[in-house]
């Protein structure tokens, strides 16, 4: 429950961003994000809210864990399940 998930902002409309998570676009709320976001930015998301705009030069490091989880995870993988729950929270 404390593992946020990064995604790439596709569009921003008011307090909602459309964010791409590995090919799936979902709405994420921007109420509490720490800096203004624009399309192309990466944000860290937690239970439906962006909590951090991730500096572009550091995104490779950040995505690596999730790539690994999404590519290799089996059905019993707790970390991958947490990532899936996080994405469900964004509807």
């Amino acid at each position: 429950m404390c593992l946020g998930v990064p995604g790439r902002v596709v569009a921003v409309e008011g307090d909602i961003a459309q964010v791409d998570f590995w090919g799936v676009t979902k709405p994420v709320r921007l109420d509490v994000v720490d800096a203004p976001v624009a399309p192309g930015d990466y944000v860290l998301n937690h239970v439906g809210f962006a909590i951090r705009r991730i500096p572009a030069e550091e995104i490779g490091e950040t995505l690596a864990l999730y790539d690994e989880l999404l590519r290799r995870a089996g059905p019993d993988d707790l970390m991958a399940a947490d990532v899936a729950s996080e994405l469900e929270a964004t509807k």
Binding site: V32, I54, T62, L78, M79, D82
Partner: protein, 379 residues
């Protein structure tokens, strides 16, 4: 998947370098007993177990999980409040992991099976949506540390329907670190703080702890390399004898954290002392809705009658559950006679076997032997 197949590192050369550095730093401490480091995050334990990281730890180092599972530390009376509300006909919305957390005599899953309305949601916003669709009272039974409490606060500030209220079991991590550090028998010499919680609070929040307890804190991310790098630095600081806070996750964590998020968190919640299941009373460890939001506080909106739940004795095996000591870092799941026998993810006795962030569930799920050194000893 075999144990070795889990040991995939994005950058094997860097992983090997960190493993060597960790061994060197730990050996340099020159101890006869291993040095104990505690992390306070279920996601850290998942990563350590999933990637078999304990195999890369030198024998001079013990890394234990502390009270880092918000579902697990939700206290029995808090579950009883939610169960009683459901029995009173109120609709409960909560995170899936909360369903099977034991109350005194019943869990939310029990009363749901008995026909009461208990809905699983993935977040506070979905609980609000549910309330908008129905006429009846909806109570969001909210668990989670500061990272998750921010979302609950933001949802409330954005406006909620009149039939929505919150039963807060939200908890705040910094105060419980003080409690664990002061526990009799605690051998913890350093803390690895969770990167995403610190994204909200910032790393400076730990400075007071370091000064009071002379114990260093290193903020770390969740990738295997992040965790190894965090541990290397933590052991190095322990060896230096000059405790301090160090941020090893600067791509997400800043000195002061996310002020927007903190502003919302503290506008809606105030810290209050309360019991954490199996651990202790934690001063300022619980997050209570401020008086301005009393109308949305389920504890003040409803007369919650828990007396019927106390007519039944808890199941006998509960007395043997070691969750409290495990979350305090004093015991490991292998010290519990129930672990993997009477207590399994399909039939959990204690909260640590219920939640995906609980130490027992993580150890059970990843083979029960997340420390590859133990496997090698057996081989």
């Amino acid at each position: 998947m075999s144990e070795l197949a889990r040991m995939k590192f994005r950058d094997p050369a860097r992983a090997a370098g960190l493993e060597d550095a960790l061994a060197m730093q730990a050996k340099a401490l020159g101890r006869s007993e291993p040095v104990s480091i505690m992390h306070v995050c279920g996601s850290h334990e998942q990563a350590i177990a999933r990637f078999g990281l304990r195999a890369a730890f030198p024998p001079e180092l013990d890394v234990v999980m502390g009270p880092g599972c918000p579902v697990c530390v939700t206290d029995v009376p808090e579950v009883d409040e939610a169960v009683a509300l459901a029995l009173q006909g109120v609709r409960i919305a909560t995170y899936g992991d909360m369903l099977r957390v034991p109350g005194t005599s019943r869990s939310l899953a029990d009363v749901r099976a008995a026909g009461k309305n208990v809905d699983v949601v993935y977040g506070a916003a979905q609980a609000v949506e549910l309330a908008r669709k129905v006429d009846e009272e909806v109570v969001f039974f909210a668990s989670g540390f500061e990272t998750t409490a921010v979302a609950t606060a933001a949802v409330l500030l954005a406006g909620v329907p009149a039939n929505f209220s919150i039963l807060s079991a939200h908890k705040y991590i910094p105060p419980v670190m003080e409690i664990v550090a002061e526990m009799p028998g605690s051998k913890i010499e350093g803390f690895l703080a969770a990167g995403h919680a610190a994204t909200i609070t910032g790393w400076a929040v730990f400075q007071r702890f370091v000064e009071r307890h002379d114990t260093p804190v290193v903020v770390a991310g969740f990738e295997p390399l992040d965790i190894l790098a965090g541990l290397v630095r933590l052991v190095e600081i322990i060896g230096s004898g000059a405790p301090r806070v160090e941020n090893m996750f600067p791509r997400c964590v800043t000195r002061d954290g996310n002020r927007e998020a903190q502003d919302r968190l503290w506008r809606v919640f105030e810290p209050q002392g309360g019991r954490w299941r199996g651990i202790a009373h934690v001063p300022n460890g619980n997050l209570r809705l401020r008086d301005e939001f009393a109308a949305f506080d389920a504890r003040r909106r409803f007369d919650i009658d828990m007396s019927s739940l106390w007519d039944h004795a808890p199941p006998v095996l509960v007395a043997q559950c070691q969750c409290g000591d495990i979350m305090a870092g004093i015991a490991s799941p292998h010290d519990c006679p129930l672990f993997g026998h009477e207590c399994t993810p399909d039939a959990p006795i204690g909260a640590c076997m219920v939640s995906a962030e609980g130490t027992c569930k993580i150890w059970h799920q990843y083979g029960g032997h997340p420390d590859l050194r133990q496997i090698r000893r057996r081989a």
